[in-house]
Symmetry: C2
Subunit: 197 residues, 2 copies
Amino acid sequence: MAVATRDRSTTDYAVLGMLTLRPMSGYDIRATIAESVAYFWTESYGQIYPTLKRLTKERLVTRRSERSGGRERHIYAITAEGREALAEWIVRPAQPRPPRNELLFKLFFARHVPPAEAAAQVERFRAEQERAVARFRAVEQELYDRHANNPDLAYWLITLRYGQLEAEALLRWSAEAGEILQELNAAAAPRGTRGEK
Amino acid sequence: MAVATRDRSTTDYAVLGMLTLRPMSGYDIRATIAESVAYFWTESYGQIYPTLKRLTKERLVTRRSERSGGRERHIYAITAEGREALAEWIVRPAQPRPPRNELLFKLFFARHVPPAEAAAQVERFRAEQERAVARFRAVEQELYDRHANNPDLAYWLITLRYGQLEAEALLRWSAEAGEILQELNAAAAPRGTRGEK
DNA sequence: TTTGGCATGTAATCCGTTACATGATTAG
DNA sequence: CTAATCATGTAACGGATTACATGCCAAA
């Protein structure tokens, strides 16, 4: 008989997933997300702490207290049931969330502002993609260097590759769009129009 | 003196933007979004109707009633102030929203399920990207055919191109990831393991 | 001594979807 | 006759961020 898979928020699974890496505090979870999967996921404390509390009550994680130095820390670990719930969720078809791309929306209506303004938006984006490409390259190196024997490595590289290919494509798009906008700008404001020398 | 730009939700601007295309009802706005910018934006009635009400009160749009046949329609049009507010927003740096890619999250932790399950996730995604690529090609044709003289055309093509390049890149990624997962699967379940003939 | 990082948590608020309520018109 | 589409709106709910409150410890 099929188990009724309780519907949880993705945050629940995000927290469970992080705890498969190692037992962690809420603070650690936040930090680890920020330094590993930030390019495709984020969580705030406002989500993490209440989630940990609930998952503990539901026995998907256990909590133990620790005081290293002065401040008390709550270390959470995933239980067998937690792993089961996570695995069940992983195999369910991933739900794409409704897209909301502010940059594209602005460009879609950019006829209502000077072309140079649209070009500025694209240029900011281009610079960001360039940084992203560089960052991905560095992360790749680091993964090979420091996680060569990690059983998760193959999967991490797959997700990294997604980021790389996407960023490279969007970088190409930025360049292309930038050129088109420059032409529009030249057409809209031919020399002399704005009183340049 | 710099005008204090009131902070509105992006929905406000989405509605204003749509109304630059032509005066429309709330229903029309929803439908137009769904058939034009759906690949990078969505809005629900629950957002649109209250927004129209508020924008009317704030004089960024005007409302007139019309009865074509029986049911009454409320047609909204953008005002000069509305256009101004929109233009002001368009030039402000676009805010990328915090990423949340469920597919990547699942793949990141996919070691905890059989590789074939991860491959299934990727395959679903690949099929989707393939459909997206085809759809973008069709849209491109339609834009050239039916909006050849539309002053917005150049901008629409730029946003379309973003979708195209992104979908193509993600299609390539899907193929690559699919292959890797197949190898992992072969390694995890060599012939004989599961009792095949 | 003061700043920054470690650490936990709650409350207020916002954003957005879904469900609900209602009803007319039109095409099959 | 009935299903789909047109059409407008509200209410309930959930998900997520931000701000707030609190306080230790280490380094500058």
